[in-house]
């Protein structure tokens, strides 16, 4: 009763970008396999709550991605593509309900999502039960392509280990002394673990690992310890709202000869990093970094549509869309997992971040990441990531963790 979701962005509103899918007709979810039927894609994202900004980035990217990959026809191999967006509210329970609704009531053929690792993990078993391919974007937890993985799961997002490897590649070298600072959570610990391995591989010394309460407002103690360890670099993995940047600068780390490095976040969060101008680090995406047609198209269309540049996770959403459309082209519209999985394994596709490849073993997309420095620039109210060098997909390839 009243629960059929109307937020399907069908081809009618292509180019309108506004999510007013009001003329949506009811479609029965049965035998979606026949080629006259549209292909349905369900996208799970945090469209409200704390991760709303990420969810919205994914959504915009995904819509533009479909448009790009189908040349605006919103059709692939003769089948229309329909998308249903659902808000997970960053609550695993809701995510799961929405996923069930998408699969069973809407009858979607492919799932995409979601903004948080918890939401995503709660949905993984359902994809398996329903034997539907799920493209994970932008959740980062390693276990999604590790311990909790199943064969229906593909990921266009980079995982924590890739971040870590990129972070290491940006600063680690023979004899360099590095300390780390991360939130005391699975996210922080996994990330540091992977970073430490990667950095050691490159010959660096890890002199101190510091974990802090992610909700704390005061990081003095943590920074004190780092000062005492006196490394060349402090590598910070941080997510969450209370940031340590102000204190890092107030306690004059840089003046003590400790360089700070971290992954650059989205633009809103970059604004809080003014004290870190000059920092060397890496990023997943910043719209000025990649040089390719897809990205040019994305930046242009995104500005037309929304009056602003694409942000951290917009290309991820777009990549997910492109990967699905490309796979469907190859299967000639067959959206069943049986034909999609073999097609997607090892598949390469062009994204705003260059070419990505789904690794066969764990379905993780190998992709380019960027080594950057943060610089002050005229006309920007935040420190701008400036390209140092591209970190190639091979260079940042994470270890395979799903036992395949």
């Amino acid at each position: 009763v009243g629960c059929s979701s109307d937020d399907t962005a069908s081809s009618e509103d292509e180019g309108s970008g506004e999510d007013t899918g009001s003329e949506q007709e009811e479609t029965s979810g049965e035998d979606a396999g026949s080629s006259s039927e549209p292909v349905k894609i369900g996208v799970l994202a945090s469209l409200s709550g704390a991760l709303e900004t990420y969810g919205v980035q994914t959504k915009r990217g995904f819509e533009l991605g479909l448009e790009y990959a189908t040349d605006g026809t919103m059709e692939v191999a003769g089948r229309k593509i329909e998308v249903v967006f659902e808000d997970t509210e960053t609550d695993p329970k809701v995510a799961r309900q929405k996923a069930i609704g998408l699969l069973e009531d809407e009858g979607v053929d492919v799932l995409v999502g979601s903004s948080s690792s918890g939401d995503t993990k709660a949905v993984l078993p359902i994809a398996k039960q329903h034997e539907k391919v799920m493209v994970v974007e932008p959740a980062v937890a390693d276990s999604i392509t590790g311990a909790d993985w199943n064969k229906y799961i593909f990921r266009t997002a980079r995982n924590s280990s890739q971040d870590a490897v990129a972070g290491a590649a940006a600063i680690a070298d023979e004899g360099v002394e590095i300390a780390t600072l991360a939130p005391d959570s699975a996210f922080g610990r996994d990330g540091v673990g992977a970073f430490v391995n990667a950095a050691k591989d490159l010959g660096a010394d890890i002199v101190h690992q510091e974990f802090a309460d992610a909700t704390a407002t005061d990081f003095t103690a943590n920074i004190q310890k780092i000062i005492e360890a006196d490394p060349d670099y402090l590598f910070v993995i941080w997510a969450g709202a209370n940031t340590p940047w102000n204190q890092i600068s107030d306690l004059k780390l840089q003046e003590k000869g400790i360089q700070v490095s971290t992954g650059a976040p989205d633009i809103a969060a970059l604004k809080t990093m003014k004290p870190l101008v000059g920092m060397e680090g890496f990023t997943v995406y910043y719209h000025e970094l990649p040089e390719n047609e897809v990205n040019d198209w994305l930046v242009k269309r995104h500005e037309e549509e929304y009056g602003e540049v694409p942000d951290l996770f917009t290309p991820g959403g777009m990549s997910a869309a492109i990967s699905i459309v490309e796979a469907l082209k190859k299967t000639e519209g067959d959206a069943t997992a049986d034909s999609l999985i073999p097609t997607m394994e090892g598949m390469s596709f062009d994204t705003p971040k260059g070419t990505m490849t789904f690794r066969e073993e764990d379905h993780q997309a190998l992709q380019t990441l960027y080594k950057i420095t943060l610089e002050e620039k005229e006309g920007y109210d935040y420190p701008v990531p400036v390209l140092e060098r591209k970190l190639s997909p091979e260079e940042t390839a994470p270890p395979i963790q799903n036992g395949q």
Partner: protein, 339 residues
């Protein structure tokens, strides 16, 4: 007369339960069914909360702790062993035992003090459990949690097996808890809510009763946690979050404190209001901010249904009865005057 009334309400509950039991066979909107199942689970949880708040007058800010204990006990036992019914039962027993012990300790430590100490102690304990779940990463996977295998019969979480299991557990616990609240002990609990000191001086030791209430409530809550993790096949530290406690609290208050059916109805209202409001996001931009509407619902509920839905209905009913009685008396007086 009271006996008769009781029988009738029991009958109504049984009929409703039967209707709910056939629902999955005649209605196949899976999302609604899984929503109804969540209502069952949170109905149990809210009911356990009401046992504390509504019947004994104890406020808890950390009730999520028991929910989380239930969820993690089963999840860890199933994860560390095989996903069979046997281990599910073992996990459930573990949940009950741990919840029983923790609620016993929390109760003994603070229930001799004013009630907000229990509230705050449970809040602290829930926080500590959350940190523990986060720290024991080899068992729990930290705050990101882990996906778990469940016994085969429950694998299809939107199928009728799990649905019916939740319904049966709800019904059983509803009648058990109701019987408990209507037993002599239940009456003493209500008296404690009203005036502790007086209960002591008519010869009951309140500590025993409060600890009993705390334990039963904790154990029932842990059962809700068990079902929750079965329905999610995934667990993370959010089961210990204050939000979970607040949900139970809101369900109890909206439904009607001290009424038992109230919390279940409250769970239904909150889950469905949540679902529908958030689904309206595309009808009008305002619904994108459905949380605002959700908040307004709470506010209006307090203003217009200060005693919760069920409590307010009961009150109206009592008023009616009183009016009738008055009317009768008035006519009687008139008749007398006339004669």
């Amino acid at each position: 007369m009271r006996k008769l009334g009781m029988g009738r309400s029991t009958g109504i509950y049984v009929i409703i339960a039967l209707l709910l039991a056939v629902l999955p066979f005649v209605y196949d909107d899976r999302i609604i069914l899984s929503l109804v199942m969540q209502v069952f689970i949170f109905g149990i949880f809210a009911m356990s909360y009401d046992l504390l708040l509504g019947f004994t007058g104890i406020v808890s800010f950390g009730h999520a702790m028991f929910f989380g204990i239930g969820a993690y006990s089963v999840a860890i036992v199933l994860n560390q062993n095989e996903a069979t019914l046997f281990y599910l039962l073992l996990g459930t027993l573990l949940a009950v035992a741990v919840a029983g012990i923790v609620s016993f300790i929390a109760g003994v430590l603070t229930l001799r003090l004013q009630s907000h100490f229990y509230a705050m102690l449970t809040l602290a304990l829930a926080g500590l459990f959350m940190v523990a779940a986060e720290k024991m990463r080899s068992l729990t996977g930290g705050n990101e949690g882990f996906v778990l295998m469940v016994p085969d019969m429950f694998i299809d979480t939107s199928g009728p097996t799990l649905y019916l299991t939740c319904l049966i557990v709800l019904v059983v616990f509803f009648f058990l808890v109701r019987r408990f609240t209507q037993s002599p002990v239940g009456k003493v609990l209500m008296a404690i809510r009203e005036n502790e000191q007086r209960v002591e001086s008519i010869g009951f030791s309140i500590m025993y009763y409060k600890v009993i209430a705390s334990m039963i409530s904790g154990i029932v809550a842990s059962i809700a946690g068990v079902l929750y993790v079965l329905s999610l096949q995934f667990v993370d530290t959010s089961v210990f979050a204050t939000d979970v406690t607040l949900d139970a609290l809101l369900m109890t208050i909206i439904g009607g404190v001290g009424t038992l059916v109230g919390p279940i109805i409250g769970a239904g209202i909150i889950e469905f209001a949540h679902h529908w409001l958030s689904d309206l996001a595309d009808v009008h931009w305002i619904f994108k901010r459905w949380i605002i509407l959700f908040g307004i619902v709470y506010i209006l509920a307090v203003i217009f249904f200060p005693r919760g839905i069920v409590g307010t209905l009961q009150e109206i009913w009592i008023k009616r009865k009183y009016k009738k009685q008055q009317g009768k008396e008035a006519t009687k007086d008139k008749n007398e005057a006339a004669s």
